[in-house]
Symmetry: C2
Subunit: 186 residues, 2 copies
């Protein structure tokens, strides 16, 4: 129920897999969770400092072979426990906020043609995203047995595909309805 800082657990989740720097964490988050999570340094670095203070992770300064200074973080036993606990907790009833629904809800203040365009753009965007997910799916299926994580990654990809497919079908129906009912002013 209570709002929890989810960035905390995303970081713990990735560090549970392997040690990383803040910079690497961001890249990894954007690559793998980009479809349903956005990250920023302004959130990641402070959260890492906080996790160090809570003994959830340990920071270790390094200089790479490329003569770059970096701070590598690794998860502690306490961090692992915290991650496990969070994953086990049932997900709260979440209200997912769609800006397009908000605008469409008040769509009658503009003409039906404009609303159809909004819906059409929406559809195009998610058809494109669905293609990106196809790649992910294909890659993951090839390495499914290499790592127990891959199955779970795949589940999130399949979720995205299903939902994007639903968007697309809805968009078609919605445009049809707008055409049938809301006049033909264009």
């Amino acid at each position: 129920m209570q709002k929890e800082n989810r960035t905390t657990y995303i970081i713990l989740g990735f560090l549970n897999h392997e040690d990383m720097t803040g910079y690497e964490l961001k890249k990894r988050i954007d690559l793998t969770l980009g479809h349903f999570w956005v990250s920023s340094f302004g959130q990641i670095y402070p959260t890492l400092h906080q996790l160090v203070e809570q003994d959830m992770v340990i920071a270790r300064s390094e200089v790479t072979e490329q003569h770059r200074e970096k701070i590598s973080y690794s998860i502690t036993e306490k961090g692992k426990q915290s991650l496990k606990h969070w994953v086990s907790q049932p997900v709260a009833n979440e209200v997912v906020k769609y800006e397009i629904l908000l605008k469409l809800f008040f769509g009658s203040v503009i003409d039906a043609g404009k609303n159809r365009n909004t819906i059409s753009d929406f559809k195009d965007r998610y058809v494109q995203k669905s293609l990106e997910l196809d790649n992910f799916e294909h890659q993951l299926k090839m390495v499914l047995d290499d790592d127990p994580n891959h199955l779970y990654y795949l589940l999130t990809v399949l979720f995205g595909k299903k939902v994007y497919q639903a968007y697309s079908e809805w968009a078609d129906e919605a445009m049809q309805l707008l055409n049938d009912v809301a006049g033909k002013e264009d």
Copy 2:
């Protein structure tokens, strides 16, 4: 692109339809947008004050026949223009945040059975919500021609139904996959 205070436009959208108090606005938002928006007085009242200052709405103190003091708000021409402009603007590429995907992504830290339960709970919740939307749909279809808004309300309801249906189908597939691949420890 820039984050806009969407509560502003929700309020303008409802006031464009009829005059209301802050209290009534909250009730209306929860009833009609509850599936994809949550509201709070802590956001509504300050936003109303702000809108008054910007000449987007006008406040009018009243005493009802029930001897209740209340402040009724009505939208101004400037407010209507602002609403129309916002509705016309294309929706930004939005990243929808699903807590369940976040947890599932790191699902390998707990056993597959627990993850199946998480998914099962998720499905049940949205099957239930889908039934609620069936009622909305039925009611809206009966009064579709009474008000041009009703068509747009219906579109948002149909969106919800499609997406909830997708959740349900995904949940079945995901549970099946977890069963097939991730061992049968329960």
